[in-house]
Amino acid sequence: MADFKDDLDILNYALTLEHLESTMYQQIVASGKLTGDEQQYATDFGKHEAAHVQALTQTIQKLGGTPVAAQAKYNFPAFDTRDNIVKFLVTIEDLGAGAYLAAAGEVKNPDVLTAAVQIHNIEGEHASIWRRQAKMNPVVGAFAAPVVRADVLKAAAPILGASGGATTTSAPTTGTSTGTVLPQTGAPNQETNNGLAAAVVAGVAAVGIGAALRARSYKRDPKPVERGNS
């Protein structure tokens, strides 16, 4: 069962997240609560997100679609302390990386897929840097965890607010900032996801991929024959 209708659907989904991240970094950098290396990271990563916004927007236009616009307002938690900011950045960057990972399999256009993987990698890199700053494990497991569309939107919904990522820029989101980070319920726990994903991938993939490939009628010898030529 596909999560996405087509590439344009995936691209606008990604663009929704990139708008969120780009705006997030602008506000964080402007807050002045980060200093030194961390302010440099935020400044640079913000430029990356802005570049992602631009690339996705242009791609959508080139494909004849209508790029979703940035929201006028996002319900970010208060960027009041360095600790709260870094914690939030970990959550959002992990979420973005997981979102791209889950969506990649449905991308049809090969050039779009390459770009999606390139962006996906950078979001993972962002996440690992902020995890290190938060004194968290920067790479949670041998295999990263995908976060499916429904879970991404559930996690992002409080931030996107009532407009929920709608394209209109005129309607502000209702409600004010709750001053908290994403709610624990509904927000996929990246640590758990990674542990589970790692077990699943390592354990099942080995058997599953092999089985799946066999099932697609590879007519090979039933057991690997050592054809080493003597």
Partner: protein, 212 residues
Amino acid sequence: MHDRYLRLVTTEFNRRTLFKGAAGAVGAASALAMGGNNLFNLGFGYAQSVLAADMGDLDILNFALGLEHLENVMYRQINASGKLTGEASDLAKMFGTFEQAHVDALSKALTGANYANIAKEGTYKFPTFDTQDTILKFLNTVEPVGVGAYTGAANKLKDKSLLGVAGAIVQVEARQLAITMALAGNKTPVAGALSESFTADEVNTKVKPLIG
């Protein structure tokens, strides 16, 4: 081209082996399974200009496995050197377990698919791991090759379900890279908005000096 990089990543490449393998495998019904002009159809005397696009999915996984073997041995030797301390030491140990997990997963998948000539651990020519700086600098040249290889291969995979595993691995390689860049003191540990993407040929060129 397949010949060249298979020889690079597997110390025991044997063309006759491969041809014999093709004879047994040529009965495969599905074009998807055989991947069009893939290695097994080509036998002897194929043109050196075979493109990465002609690689079957299993060839791609095997190519990745070759790189993972290299990285696995690299981390093993780095961790054995005793030249990393503190955070770098702890993280390198952890990253080493991940590379081993990548080797294991890809090896098992290829075994399960009865792929012939699964890439084995090779011998490599690494620089002397004599200081933390040297080690981190080297990691920062090798990790991007892995990231670029998976990224370049992504849109070549015909079975889209393999993107899940490839993506799960490449994100980890990318995360590791950003960390080793930061540990090396880079103020811009994430180099740009898009990670690099390499063709198999480009990967070969970069990796060739490291193959013993």
